[in-house]
């Protein structure tokens, strides 16, 4: 019973938090550009409007994929926020992204197909670091369960500072922010129109937006895991760090231009390789 209530709360509160984060993001971005920006609740208005609009069916299956993707992402959020297995989280998250890519391929528009291809390249770019994060967390805590990882005396960041930096680097991919917003864009993209979401309208587009809200919170939860320990103060610190990291991502988003996929892929692998392996090697040699 308690579990059911928790699950329902996660399903409802996660997108609320994610939507607020998106609204905050848009206001900060506007301020960085010298504008006033939309109201905080703007992302919710957008989604509510999309729910009322006509949903154009480009072909029989293309909407199916984004709904399945949403389902997997919701499942990821539930596993993660209940303190479940971090490996399961990562795999289901990847599955959700894969279905989103299928959604891009399904609609046959050249823009969304290019978007889907770039999304696959992006996944290739960021996945190694995600696995290295899981490996690093296991190495220091001897467990894959998030609730055990965050209830130790010393937070994981003490042992994994380099892995954390590498994770922040690939977070830009996950949050779909410039310079790595190659596949889908909230901002107008010339050669890509809107990438994978080009052919989606109405409710299907609303589902894509809500999926992205869940994903932002999941990404922030990874940051949280690094800083949380068994004291209350560490949880407060973890929350503050999440906000700071998000703010940093917004600033990066507004001050960089999109890179080519070659650059995105190699830089992500170099950063993951150097920071991740260095960190693991140091841990190994000094036997923490």
């Amino acid at each position: 019973m308690l579990l059911a209530i928790k699950v329902i709360l996660i399903i409802i509160l996660t997108p609320l938090a994610g939507g607020l984060l998106a609204g905050f993001d848009r206001i900060i971005s506007a301020r960085l550009q010298g504008r006033k920006g939309p109201p905080l609740l703007q992302p919710f208005y957008d989604v509510l409007k999309l729910l009322q609009k006509e949903t154009i069916e480009v072909n029989a299956s293309h909407r199916f994929y984004v709904y399945v993707s949403l389902l997997f992402i919701v499942f990821t959020a539930i596993v993660m926020l209940l303190g479940g297995d971090i490996l399961l989280t990562i795999f289901v998250l990847t599955l959700g992204s894969i279905f989103f890519v299928f959604g891009g391929y399904a609609s046959q528009s050249p823009y969304s197909v290019i978007g889907a291809e770039r999304e696959l390249l992006q996944m290739m770019a960021y996945e190694p670091m995600v696995f290295m994060t899981a490996a690093g967390l296991y190495y220091v805590t001897n467990t894959f369960f998030i609730k055990d990882i965050i209830s130790r005396d010393i937070p994981a960041i003490v042992y994994l500072p380099a892995i954390f930096l590498g994770f922040v680097y690939i977070l830009t991919f996950k949050l779909r922010k410039s310079p790595f917003d190659l596949s889908v864009g909230h901002h107008a993209h010339q050669e890509l129109v809107q990438g994978i979401s080009t052919e989606y309208s109405g409710r299907a587009l609303a589902a894509i937006e809500v999926t992205h809200w869940y994903e932002s919170i999941i990404a922030m939860a990874f940051v949280y895991i690094f800083f949380a320990a068994n004291s209350v103060i560490s949880h407060v610190v973890a929350l503050i760090v999440c906000l700071v990291v998000y703010l940093f991502e917004i600033i990066v988003d507004n001050s960089t231009v999109r890179v080519k996929w070659q650059m995105a892929l190699t830089s992500a692998w170099v950063v993951s390789g150097v920071l991740g392996i260095l960190n693991l090697a140091v841990l190994f040699f000094f036997e923490f």
Partner: protein, 143 residues
């Protein structure tokens, strides 16, 4: 309750305009007018758009393009003709290739006059378009 008033997404198509009205449209997005305050986004994608802003007159070349863009937009949708060219052909009306205003092909809901249409007038036109959008939304619900 309808939310399209709170989140009007715009698609801007340049027919055969002299670029004056286009600069007017884009000026609305700059920090001075900042229409994103009202949730306006320039989507560049007909599938996501609610309001089609057309500048410049229609000619034989762009009629199928305009038609296709309009057909790709999901209901409810409104069309606003920006500038006197889009309204009636304007100064180019006599040209051999110009067919006339946008209303020769699409059902135009709002006409924004001016050469070039000022950003203030364009914002005013979009606001008018929004109430029409609202009516269309209600009509869709009633169906």
């Amino acid at each position: 309750m309808n939310f399209n008033k709170k989140s009007p997404w715009i698609l801007h198509y340049d027919g055969s305009s002299c670029n004056g009205c286009d600069i007017g449209v884009l000026a609305c997005l700059t920090p001075l007018y900042d229409v994103e305050r009202f949730g306006v986004i320039n989507t560049g994608n007909p599938r996501h758009a609610d309001i089609l802003l057309l500048t410049g007159s229609l000619n034989a070349q762009n009629i199928p393009v305009v038609q296709q863009i309009y057909d790709q937009m999901p209901e409810p949708k409104v069309v606003a003709a920006i500038g006197i060219c889009a309204t009636s052909g304007g100064i180019f009306a006599e040209c051999y290739n110009v067919v006339g205003g946008v209303d020769k092909v699409l059902p135009v809901d709002v006409y924004v006059p001016g050469c070039a249409a000022r950003p203030q007038a364009i914002i005013d036109g979009v606001v008018k378009a929004l109430s029409i959008l609202d009516e269309k939304q209600n009509a869709l619900k009633g169906r």
